[in-house]
């Protein structure tokens, strides 16, 4: 039983399911941060199995009257009501990665999937000289991050690069095998694919394997997303078709906990903080290895 000594702050952390490597690293960095300063802070970290479960967990946290709740909403819209309730109940609330549809929170440490998607579109549009046929490997079609990453990309392409055609979309599902399978199905169907936008690094690694296996030379480059070890390794090895990874790092999990600690310590903080986004290429990958997952 976790009865906590007087003066120790109780902080609860709620994450969506750890069903991909990015999310797992998020959890891992949070666990690392939670293991520090144990005489000042007591952390409970919980992954939900789905949205309703996350709602239940947040409700449980609220009932349990934690001093602070840190929430990475699996679905920002769905978690809005409970987050508002938490804030209204006087509990400090930090929202991580994805915004909720409300400004009732103490602080936001946001990643920016939409911006990363736009970065990818710019990178791709420029490298292709504004025209070409491309494929997209999405990341669990329909979930909020998928839509952000997709819309960020597609909006810029539509607006700034009308010569680029999105010829096919498939699902890369945040993992290498799915990326490999999806790409290996795409290649025989299209004689010419100039580039592939993968909404996840792991899927990109799989897609590259498929392209290499098929011996296709028409594909000039593939872009990934997120910042995974496997992707950075390919980049630093100088893989000819891996163009760039649109990175923002799951280590923000740990940083969110650190932010929480600093708030209790009375340090000043911004309400809205955006984690920077990077376009990681062969050239600059060396600087970023320590952030990868």
């Amino acid at each position: 039983q976790q009865e906590v000594a007087e003066g120790v702050m109780r902080i609860a952390v709620s994450f969506p399911p750890a069903n991909n490597a990015w999310q797992a690293k998020m959890l891992d960095s949070a666990l690392d941060e939670a293991a520090k300063d144990v005489d000042e802070f007591h952390f409970v970290i919980k992954n939900a199995v789905d949205d309703a479960d996350q709602l239940n967990i947040l409700t449980t946290f609220k009932e349990d009257a934690y001093d602070m709740i840190i929430c990475l909403p699996g679905n920002g819209t769905l978690m809005t009501p409970i987050c508002e309730d938490i804030y209204d109940a006087g509990i400090k609330l930090i929202i991580v990665d994805r915004p909720i549809d409300s400004d009732k929170y103490t602080a936001l440490l946001g990643g920016d999937n939409y911006l990363c998607g736009s970065n990818a579109a710019k990178y791709m549009g420029d490298r292709l000289g504004g025209k070409g046929d491309i494929a997209i490997l999405r990341s669990y079609v329909g979930i909020p991050i998928d839509l952000d990453r997709y819309n960020g990309f597609a909006d810029v392409i539509k607006k700034d690069y009308p010569g680029i055609n999105i010829v096919v979309e498939a699902d890369g599902q945040f993992n290498q095998d799915a990326g490999l399978n999806a790409m290996s199905n795409i290649l025989p169907a299209y004689d010419k694919i100039d580039a592939v936008y993968c909404q996840d690094d792991e899927a990109a690694v799989g897609a590259i394997t498929a392209i290499e296996n098929a011996g296709r030379t028409d594909v000039q480059f593939v872009t990934g997303f997120g910042g995974s070890k496997a992707a950075y390794k390919l980049l630093s090895e100088g893989n000819p078709i891996f163009g760039a990874s649109m990175s923002y790092w799951p280590t923000m999990g740990g940083r969110a906990l650190a932010l929480g600690k600093s708030i209790f310590r009375g340090e000043s903080f911004e309400k809205i903080n955006h984690d920077p986004t990077f376009v990681v290429t062969k050239e600059n990958v060396g600087e970023f290895h320590q952030h990868s997952y």
């Binding site: 976790q2 994450f15 750890a18 919980k46 789905d50 949205d51 009932e63």
Partner: protein, 327 residues
Amino acid sequence: MENIKQKNSFLQLVSRVWKNYSIVVVFFVILIICGIAAPRFLRPNNLLNILRNTSIVGIIGLGMTFVIIAGGIDLSSGPVLATSGAALIALQKMVTESGDPAMPLIVPILVCLAISTGIGFANGIIITKAKLPPFIVTLAVGIIARSVVMYFCRGATIMGNKIPEFTNIGNGSIFRIPIPFIMAIVLALILHVTLTRSKFGTYVFAVGGNEKAAKYSGIKVDRIKIATYMIVGFCTGLAAVIEMSRMAAVAATSSGMQYEFEAITAVIIGGTSLNGGKGRLIGTIVGFIILGIVKNMMIMLNISPYLAGAVKGAVILFAVLIQRREK
């Protein structure tokens, strides 16, 4: 001789009680263990919270019990919840020019129930008329339903109108008892009476026990089966109403994800056999509360999120093991 008979019938009584209520015993054992491991667990607020949280899957489980007793299975519940829930939100968020809801709340709710019951009906019709295995039919119908709702919502999360009458369904309480749990209990009572006292209930058992014999006894086997799928459909619709009202929003991709497995797990933990012909609703209720307790305790005891699955799996095995022991 007399003596033997009496002793026997006493033993028989004990064995019968244990057979029928072992799950309840298991339940109290779990409750006590939890209370000792984490005294906070027993706080009324926490217990009520567990009841609220488990009611949604529980309501689906009640309907699922009927289907499973009749020898079927329904793997489409999750997607059906999303589909009917999406319809509910779409109608509920419509407003007139003056900003009032375009229709009384009851209309979207009825539409939601009609859609879910309708899909249940479709499941039943395909299974009985085309004579296809329920596992594959409901799996396919579920995949299709999820896909259709994704298509219409373009995958996005749709927010409804946040009016108190609506959000109160899922979030409110009456005399501190969560409304979803009250709904689950009322529904359970009605269904329990239906299952044990009505002719229909007996026919459900008969169809699951021996379909051919049921047919030869003049029971309209197909109708009974279709009815069970409509019941689980209706229950899923009701669960959708609660789920939608809790968040006043629906996520096309993820609403109701995996609920069918949670529900089936609760039914089996409750002692209903997947072979059909046997089962009871009280078991299902205890089954879903046990699942809720497990999840809650994982938080209470701050178990490593990586190991949460291991604990859950072990508790499920333990729960079914204890009550099957006597076989």
